[in-house]
């Protein structure tokens, strides 16, 4: 199908027009929060739908070539679209559509509390920035849009700036995102200097001229910059702080999409800009990915702040996605291009899946937090009776993210396992072992993720409510439920009908690796690598449903007693059941805390105050069981101390005198001129 460039251009205009109108509407109606909220998010929804169409057009082969020299210096604003860009536009759109629809009602809670004009402006700028990052075709456009996206999200994180936690989270986010930006800037400059072009689409061909050490330097710098945005361990520290602090629809977009742009960047450097790299690049990414996946889910598992748990689980999912990227790069360096494509297909499939279920879970969390007034799941419980629909949608998200059939997470993880298992085609024992360990890491991750979401769903929604607010919780408004329902249906659809997606992704990655993955389809059956592995998610779903029906009917036919009686839970003869008998999130995670004690280094404090007369009577018990972050203690703490000490030293040159600063500028100019001459 030939798509005219005029059509994609119109879709781009619709997208940006929607976001622009949203931003303008939100600001113009600033005096009337109600209108500002509606205008800001309804227009954003139009923009998101435009982005969906734009991405679909791009995947169907549509191209884009926009060049406006007047808008930016050094090369102007340059936009273009290949299949990879189109795919990421699509990822942004599938997360943005439900999230913005959700935001229309959800932001009502912020009326009178925060500036809705600011929120509308920030949200639209954030969305537009993300779309433009993936469409950027020269260095300056990329960096400006990257920074716009980061700053817009920073302001959104600071929505509830009156809380100390939020200020802290915002500060760490700002520092980390700019440290990453600095790496990107230097990397881009080296690259532009070495290849003698600022045009990103020419880098692939020009990178051959780059000397060896320069290529490695560019790779390391860009990988650090993009890795910080993706939130890989140990650059993840900002993520579990910033994502929960933002309003839930923003958390959904940050966790669901923004961190994926780090993945976008890594795919660009690994497969496009730098060409086929050294094998240690892929190996390094594979190791970082495996560590991120396992540590991400381990931290999520012991978290009892619902949104924080979801944020840590994003670290885990980025790890899973990057396993595919790293494996793909390794395969490519061993000239196994079809396997590289398979790994990338798995990786991109998981990217779009995560962009569906993570926003769904954040929206569910937002509804629950809104209804109970707390993010602490210890104070929830029993919500399945009070918020049945939200519970059902959250359950879908949980099953999907735990990678269980028949939902979408399963199929991408299945593909990932196949591509890793096929690594035995490489004949280098060290690399084989690396792959074996990453298979083990992925397996452990998926087991722990299941445990984590049993906890997240079970403790939040099941059993008896553990606080008064949870007892009085009410179901979310229809618009929010509709948005969650839409995501839930999408999760199921992508889980049972993966054939079309895999086909699309296969053409997308073939542009990068030069070969299609060896995947065949036989109706709804996926056959990978010459019948190495076969799966049919649709038939699994059909079989599960019909076997359930079969069991029900069979029991009826053989005359099982169909009567049931509701009675109180058995409790060894105690008089009444209260929520204090329940297992809590801390208790649920305790076996894991003990098994992985080395990582968590739990601090346990038990302080019992006895009655002065007799030790038989206890007056108060204070119990604390916290985990400490190794990364903050061992890496960031010393680093920030070092920076502070350095800053103290550097104060000597800071006199505050304007003349002195002018002298500095003059001296810098002279030095530069001398160097240039």
């Amino acid at each position: 199908m030939a798509l005219s460039e005029a059509m994609t251009l119109n879709l781009l205009l619709l997208t940006l027009g929607g976001f622009g109108a949203g931003a303008a509407g939100a600001v113009l109606a600033a005096r009337c929060p109600h209108v500002s909220r509606l205008a800001g998010h309804a227009c954003a929804l139009i923009g998101a739908v435009g982005a969906l169409a734009l991405g679909a057009a791009g995947l169907a082969g549509g191209t884009l070539d926009v060049m406006i020299p007047a808008l930016l210096p050094i090369g102007g604003l340059s936009l273009g679209m290949d299949r990879l860009s189109a795919f990421f536009v699509l990822v942004i759109a599938v997360a943005a559509i439900p999230s913005t629809a959700y935001a229309i009602t959800y932001t009502r809670a912020y009326e009178g509390k925060s500036s809705l004009a600011g929120m509308g402006l920030g949200f639209n700028a954030f969305l537009a920035g993300m779309v433009l990052v993936v469409l950027a075709r020269n260095v300056l456009t990329f960096l400006v849009m990257w920074e716009a996206m980061s700053l817009a999200s920073y302001f959104l994180v600071m929505t509830e700036a009156e809380h100390r936690d939020t200020q802290h989270a915002g500060w760490i986010y700002l520092v980390m995102t700019h440290a990453g930006f600095a790496c990107l800037l230097v990397g881009f400059l080296i690259m532009a200097h070495g290849t003698d072009t600022m045009n990103l689409s020419e880098w692939h061909a020009a990178s051959a001229t780059l000397s060896g050490p320069m290529r490695h330097a560019v790779f390391v710098l860009l990988a650090l910059g993009f890795g910080a945005k993706a939130g890989v361990v140990p650059l993840h520290v900002w993520l579990p702080k910033a994502h929960p602090a933002a309003p839930s629809h923003v958390s959904a977009m940050m966790s669901g999409v923004m961190i994926k742009l780090g993945v976008y960047g890594l795919i660009r450097i690994g497969f496009d800009w730098l060409g086929v790299g050294a094998s240690w690049w892929g190996g390094a990414i594979l190791v970082v990915a495996a560590v991120s996946a396992v540590l991400g889910v381990l931290y999520a598992l012991v978290e009892s702040d619902l949104k924080c748990l979801l944020a840590y689980s994003s670290v885990e999912n980025i790890g899973i996605i990057l396993l595919g990227v790293g494996a793909g790069m390794l395969f490519q360096s061993y000239h196994l291009d079809t396997l590289a494509s398979l790994a990338l297909v798995a990786s991109l499939y998981h990217t779009v899946n995560h962009a569906m279920f993570k926003p769904l879970l954040f929206m569910g969390a937002g509804a629950v937090v809104h209804a109970t007034g707390t993010r602490n799941i210890e104070e929830m419980g029993g919500l399945i009776k009070r918020m049945p629909q939200t519970a059902a949608y959250f359950l879908v998200g949980s099953v999907a993210i735990a990678a269980l059939p028949p939902f979408n997470g399963f199929i991408s993880e299945w593909l990932m396992f196949q591509s890793l298992l096929l690594s035995f085609q490489i004949s280098a024992t060290g690399t084989n072992l690396l792959f074996a360990l990453s298979i083990a890491a992925l397996a452990l991750t998926s087991g722990l993720a299941a445990a984590c979401f049993v906890k997240a769903f079970g403790i939040t929604f099941l059993a008896l409510p553990r606080s008064e607010r949870a007892e009085q919780a009410r179901e979310a408004p229809w618009m929010m439920r509709g948005a969650m329902g839409l995501s839930a249906v999408a999760c199921l659809a992508l889980g049972v009908a993966p054939v079309g997606i895999v086909r699309l992704l296969n053409t997308t990655v073939a542009d990068l690796t030069g070969a299609q993955a060896d995947v065949h389809f036989n109706w709804n059956v996926i056959v990978a690598n010459d019948a190495f592995a076969v799966v049919s998610p649709l038939w699994i779903a059909v079989a599960l449903v019909s076997l359930c029906a079969l069991v029900v009917t069979a029991l009826r036919i053989i005359g099982a007693n169909a009567a049931w009686r509701a009675y109180e839970t058995w409790g060894c003869g105690r008089a009444l059941q209260t929520s204090r008998f329940e297992y809590t999130a801390t208790a649920f995670a305790n076996p894991f805390k003990r098994v992985f004690g080395l990582l968590y280094r739990p601090v346990k404090e038990l302080d019992i105050q006895f009655h002065p007369e007799s030790r038989m009577f206890v007056e108060t018990i204070a119990y604390r069981n916290e985990t400490r972050s190794i990364f903050e203690d061992a890496l960031y703490g010393p680093m920030s101390k070092l920076i502070q000490r350095g800053a103290q030293r550097a104060r000597i040159v800071q006199s505050g005198n304007v003349h002195l600063y002018l002298l500095y500028i003059f001296m810098a100019l002279v030095v530069l001129l001398a160097l240039a001459g």
């Binding site: 990678a403 074996a436 992925l442 592995a533 076969v534 038939w539 699994i540 029900v552 007693n561 008998f581």
Partner: protein, 314 residues
């Protein structure tokens, strides 16, 4: 077409009807080894029948999750029964998924069962759920590495194909990697099916509070489905162990005689493994919960060694 349907029906019947017999066999042998007379082989059928006739008592704290889970659990096990090659390497529904799909189906069952354990709001259920999930999660890496070892050898992850390649390779049993993978998978099977030394299926008292504590709230037909599903899971794991690692007798072509031979061979292999489990359960004591990671990491090491040995042999 008719033969294919027939084969699948036979598979369902073997797993569905054979499960209680297998449970009875293990109990009987165990009782004899422990110097007790023990109940008859058919006792589990009578137990299940009794449960079917009883009215179910459901905790009033629970939600639909609690009532839905037993049906889903039984369905996942029956679906696994359709996938696993029991008699022939031409399982008609083999295209539904490979060995990894099978493991995820088990995980799906465990996921909902642990949710159901939390549903009633009792400490027993919560404790059982938390521990069951811990064991399942920690067993997962071993499962996948053992699968990697098998796939390395067979060059395939399809269950049928693995058995076919194994049957063609007569010196298979002598390779160290094969035995190591078998041992790793055996330990994992014990953990996944809740046998000693990981869990004790005979009691729900303090020391063993895993599976039985989790399903404490169930009664009537719900309990019947869960007990039945647990039996089916044991049978499927033993069938996997027998056919993947000892592919003797599995029918490579579908003829009535070959199928009959395959049935007898399967029964004998599973019977031998069942006796092995009974001996093991008599000989070893239950491990403390927090000693389990050592056992599971031991099995992980075995699986990794299997992979390494296959890599070097290659």
């Amino acid at each position: 077409m008719l033969t294919q349907i027939l084969i699948e029906v036979i598979q369902l019947l073997i797993v569905g009807l054979g499960a209680p017999l297998l449970v009875g066999l293990v109990r009987r042998v165990k009782a004899r080894l422990q110097g007790r007379r023990g109940a008859g082989l058919l006792q589990p059928y009578a137990d299940l029948h009794k449960l079917l006739a009883q009215e179910a008592v459901v905790s009033e704290t629970t939600s639909w999750i609690c009532r839905f889970t037993p049906y889903l659990l039984a369905a996942t096990m029956l679906l696994s029964a359709l996938l696993v090659p029991l008699l022939t390497t031409q399982t008609p529904l083999g295209f539904l998924g490979n060995i990894i799909v099978l493991m995820y189906l088990f995980l799906l069952g465990t996921f909902f069962l642990t949710l159901a354990g939390l549903d009633a709001g009792s400490a027993f259920g919560g404790m059982g759920s938390s521990r069951e999930m811990a064991v399942a999660a920690l067993a997962e890496p071993t499962v996948m590495i053992a699968i990697f070892a098998i796939a390395l050898r067979a060059g395939n992850t399809g269950l049928d194909e693995i058995i076919r390649r194994g049957a063609a390779d007569s010196l298979l049993l002598l390779t160290p990697g094969h035995l190591l993978a078998f041992m790793a998978f055996f330990i994992v099977a014990l953990a996944e099916t809740g046998r000693l030394p990981v869990d004790n299926p005979a009691t729900h008292l303090e020391l063993t509070m895993i599976h039985e504590a989790m399903v404490l709230e169930y009664s009537g037909r719900y309990l019947m489905l869960i007990e039945w599903a647990a039996g089916m899971k044991l049978l499927i794991f033993l069938a996997l162990l027998s056919n993947l690692f000892f592919p003797w007798g599995v029918a490579l072509a579908i003829t009535p005689f070959a199928l009959a031979v395959a049935f007898v061979a399967l029964a004998m292999k599973i019977g031998a493994l069942a006796v092995g489990i009974a001996v093991l359960e008599t000989a070893v004591a239950k491990l403390r919960l927090f000693r389990l990671p050592a056992l599971l990491s031991g099995s992980f090491a075995l699986a990794l060694l299997a992979v390494i040995s296959f890599l070097f042999v290659k």
